[in-house]
């Protein structure tokens, strides 16, 4: 069975057809994380591989959410890691608290959510505080995106690239100089609340929302901005509103991803969210196929694996990776999936039309 056949088989009949679909989603939501956790706890999956899986999952969330802006909206955002950092720090402070004193003083005031109940299951520590903090982190990132989007989208053109780049740098600098969150040392000693179940849930949510959005009229309006801003505006579509929506939704999931990363590695510092990380996500989406949800997720997987596989090269990894990217782009202009793979979620072309096509009804 070729990959294409497989894709057709997995392709869902869309939510208009009830129960079978719900079963598929329930299975997809529950089984993979349980399998991974079981393998991890039984020692078959060692902690290195588990760590790679976690980073891969978080990269998928970031890449797929960045694709809403760079792929579907057609604007160029370079500051995705900045939104990620906002989510991570907000969640971090809410749970682990900040340092109200001076640099070097380790006295911490407890986080607002630190008193919420925790329990242990499957060898993991779960806390009610974590999903709440994660959501608040995502909302904070989305709100910041909305605020910087207002001036960035005032005029037509590529201002978003400049504004998001500046935003990313400003966020990092603010964090470095903010003693309350530990300055350049960052926040340490975060509890390890993040695990593969949360990551998997977040992946499902990101992919599902992204796909639902893009196969709806509102997503279609986002696509129309990419296709022809002038025609969209003169056709009665409030272009600026849709730009703000796309940027905010993308930032929301970036914030979630940041929180997941912070509570996985159990510390956060400003350099984890600098422009270079943003560029990593850009590479992932252009490698996999910008505009395609499947493609960008695939790009995240491949890039993460490649970074690990090339680890023996040391610093040269930073050279070989980009060269491979350039070769890929030369051979397949639209990335590895060529924007063609009719995969689970939404084909790059067509969007809703694919879902509503008579063959799929």
């Amino acid at each position: 069975m070729s990959l294409r056949d497989l894709a057709k088989r997995i392709k869902l009949p869309d939510s208009y057809d009830g129960r079978s679909l719900r079963n598929i989603w329930v299975t997809l939501t529950l089984v993979p994380p349980l399998v991974v956790m079981a393998l991890y706890l039984s020692g078959i999956l060692n902690s290195y591989y588990y760590d790679v899986l976690m980073r891969m999952g978080i990269s998928i969330i970031l890449a797929v959410s960045l694709n809403i802006v760079n792929g579907h909206l057609g604007q160029f955002s370079i500051g995705h890691a900045g939104f990620m950092g906002v989510g991570a720090y907000v969640a971090g402070v809410l749970i682990a608290g900040g340092n109200p004193g001076y640099a070097g003083v380790t006295l911490r005031e407890p986080g607002l959510l630190s008193s919420l109940p925790t329990f242990n299951a499957l060898g993991q520590q779960f806390s009610l505080a974590f999903p709440i903090a994660m959501l608040i982190g995502g909302v904070a990132a989305a709100m910041l995106a909305f605020i910087i989007g207002i001036p960035a989208f005032r005029t037509r053109g590529d201002y978003l690239a400049v504004v998001t780049l500046a935003f990313n740098m400003i966020i990092v600098n603010i964090l470095v100089n903010m003693q309350y969150v530990g300055g350049s040392r960052g926040l340490t000693g975060l509890p390890g609340y993040s695990n593969f179940m949360w990551v998997w849930l977040a992946i499902i949510a990101t992919v599902l929302v992204s796909r639902n959005l893009i196969t709806s009229a509102h997503g279609r309006a986002i696509l129309s901005v990419r296709e022809s801003e002038v025609a969209a505006e003169l056709g009665g579509i409030n272009v600026r509103t849709y730009k703000l929506i796309a940027l905010s939704v993308g930032a929301f999931f970036a914030g979630i991803g940041g929180a997941l990363l912070g509570f996985h590695v159990m510390f956060i510092n400003p350099s984890m969210f600098n422009v270079f990380r943003s560029i990593d996500y850009l590479i992932m989406i252009y490698l996999g196929g910008v505009g395609s949800i499947t493609g960008t997720a695939l790009g995240a997987v491949i890039w993460t694996l490649l970074q690990e596989a090339l680890r023996f090269m040391g610093v040269w990894r930073q050279v070989v990776g980009p060269i491979l990217l350039i070769i890929t782009m030369l051979v397949w202009k639209r990335g590895l999936t060529k924007g063609e793979l009719p995969f689970i979620i939404a084909k790059r072309k067509g969007g809703l039309a694919v879902v509503h096509h008579p063959d799929n009804q």
Partner: protein, 259 residues
């Protein structure tokens, strides 16, 4: 019949260049008016002023009794002014039917949350949109190509799709910017018949820009001729054809011919 569009003393400057100067226009409901003039006469600028792309330097544009000056383009479109473009501007990578759906986008009933969670209001709303879009595509003979990318259509069909998309917004006034540009005489004739059909079938008010005079002569009972941003003649096709200023604008005076 009531007045649908009133333009009075409309003037627009691009830096030192006066593109439109003291332009007046009254359109009654149901009229099919041709706006002709040589290249650079300011015809498209008038369209851009009506649709809010530019803000006029002075003058007023009233649509259905409301002034359009200063309103954003999407609001003007939502009020019922639809337009097409001189160079085709379709959503090329989207299927034909989505192009039409985007034309009726502001009539979408369900909200963003419903869209992101695909609630039942979303699928109901989409079903309704698709049904309407399909009806329109059938009227325009494009139903067969509904799921093809817009950019893959032949030129003539792309023109028709653009008009179809404009009509999907259920406009009161349709502005067509040189719909015959780049077409051969046979295609032009077909398109003009089509425009007359659209005008009758949808009981629309249409303002049509064209720089080839003969194209509009056959279908517009009332024509306005422009040159250098000013109206140089108004009247029936016969009156326009006889107007010395129109002849001068199109052919030049004898002295300039000789020179």
């Amino acid at each position: 019949m009531s007045t649908i569009l009133t333009i009075s003393k409309l003037t627009h400057d691009f830096g030192g260049l006066r593109a439109v100067s003291d332009f007046d226009l009254h359109i009654e409901e149901g009229q099919l008016i041709g706006l002709i003039g040589p290249n650079g006469a300011g015809k498209t600028t008038v369209f851009n002023l009506i649709t809010g792309v530019y803000r006029p330097s002075s003058g007023d544009i009233r649509f259905d009794g409301t002034s359009l000056v200063g309103l954003p383009s999407h609001t003007i479109a939502q009020m019922g002014v639809a337009r097409t473009f001189q160079t085709i501007r379709l959503y090329g990578d989207l299927p034909v039917i989505d192009n039409v759906n985007l034309g009726q986008h502001f009539q979408v009933q369900y909200g963003l949350t419903s869209a992101m969670l695909h609630l039942s209001s979303c699928s109901r709303g989409e079903g309704e949109l698709y049904r309407k879009a399909m009806e329109l595509l059938e009227l325009f003979g494009l139903a067969q190509q509904a799921y093809e990318d817009a950019k893959s259509l032949p030129y003539g069909q792309q023109r028709r799709l653009e008009i179809c998309r404009a009509l999907a917004s259920n406009p009161k006034l349709l502005l067509l910017d040189e719909p015959a540009a780049g077409m051969n005489p046979g295609e032009v004739q077909e398109l003009m018949d089509h425009i007359v059909w659209v005008h009758d079938h949808f009981k629309l008010t249409i303002l049509l820009i064209e720089h080839q005079m003969r194209v509009v002569m056959g279908i517009c009972p009332h024509i306005i001729a422009m040159d250098f941003g000013q109206v140089i003649a108004r009247g029936t096709p016969e009156e326009i054809q006889k107007s010395p200023r129109v002849i001068e604008a199109y052919l030049g005076t004898e002295e300039t011919e000789a020179a």
